[in-house]
Amino acid sequence: MIYLTRRVEFSASHYYHNPEFSAEENRRIFGKCNNPHGHGHNYILEVTVRGEIDSRSGFVMDLKQLKEIMNREVVDALDHRHLNKEVPEFAHQIPTSENIAIAIWKRLTPKLKLAQLHRVRLYETADLFVDFYGEA
């Protein structure tokens, strides 16, 4: 078993707001992230896959293929988007980094055939990141 990690960046805007909360509750819980005009981040996504090394190629999986899947499934869908308004997963779910990491996991896992998805790590800023391992 060997682990391979690939990193990619995307930029997106979002805001945190739960329509079931009152305006005061939203402000109290989400603070400045509740600004209705949104704000943005340069997200860094690290995707780790695991598998056995193919004895012919020496690869777990082709890095180029992994990059293409990450670009197609994640970057093309999220980069320079307003997550709340433009990404279907967040029509009724708050686009916190936790929820974004889970959404990315769900987008990637059916597309990976040669290697198994092990971890999605999403940096919202250099000082803050979320790890998701597909656990319930």
């Binding site: 060997i2 391979l4 990619v8 090394i53 190629s57 690869f59 790890d131």
Partner: protein, 140 residues
């Protein structure tokens, strides 16, 4: 008390990804630009994680001088400013970073005695990295 210790090392080397048993077309399809016959290079970063009991008298898992000395002699000097395809272990093994990671882990585990070798992680570029822990699963 058991603790883990990780140290980073660097070396620069070139390689070419090419499997003699594949046709030129298959090599190109599999390895793309990494199949360039003249090779290309990377600044590799190797992270070595060792573990062991913290020795009460020194407060150390192992002396970093010992780890540095071993890694320098057995790993860095072996690969730095080399063409990986010319090194013994890659005569019949394609020098992908997966295979390099396994080779380095095995070399460390076989020879380094002061602490248990837990994991080797190699950054080939800023955008990709490889981890091997003897074939088992990585702890979270």
């Amino acid at each position: 008390m058991k603790a883990h210790l990780t140290r980073r090392y660097r070396f620069s080397a070139s390689h070419r990804l090419h499997n003699e048993s594949m046709s030129p077309e298959e090599n190109l399809a599999t390895y793309g630009k990494c199949n360039n016959p003249y090779g290309h290079g990377h600044n590799y970063i190797v992270e070595v994680t060792v573990s062991g009991q913290v020795e009460p008298s020194t407060g150390m898992v192992c002396n970093l001088v010992d780890l540095d000395g071993f890694v320098k002699e057995q790993i860095v000097n072996r690969y730095d400013h080399m063409n990986l395809n010319t090194v013994d272990e890659f005569q019949k093994l394609v020098p992908t970073t997966e295979n390099l990671c396994v080779e380095i882990f095995n070399r460390l585990q076989k020879g380094f005695r002061p602490a248990n070798v837990e994991r080797v992680r190699i950054e080939e570029t800023m955008m990709n990295s490889f981890e091997y822990a003897g074939g088992g699963e990585l702890a979270h």
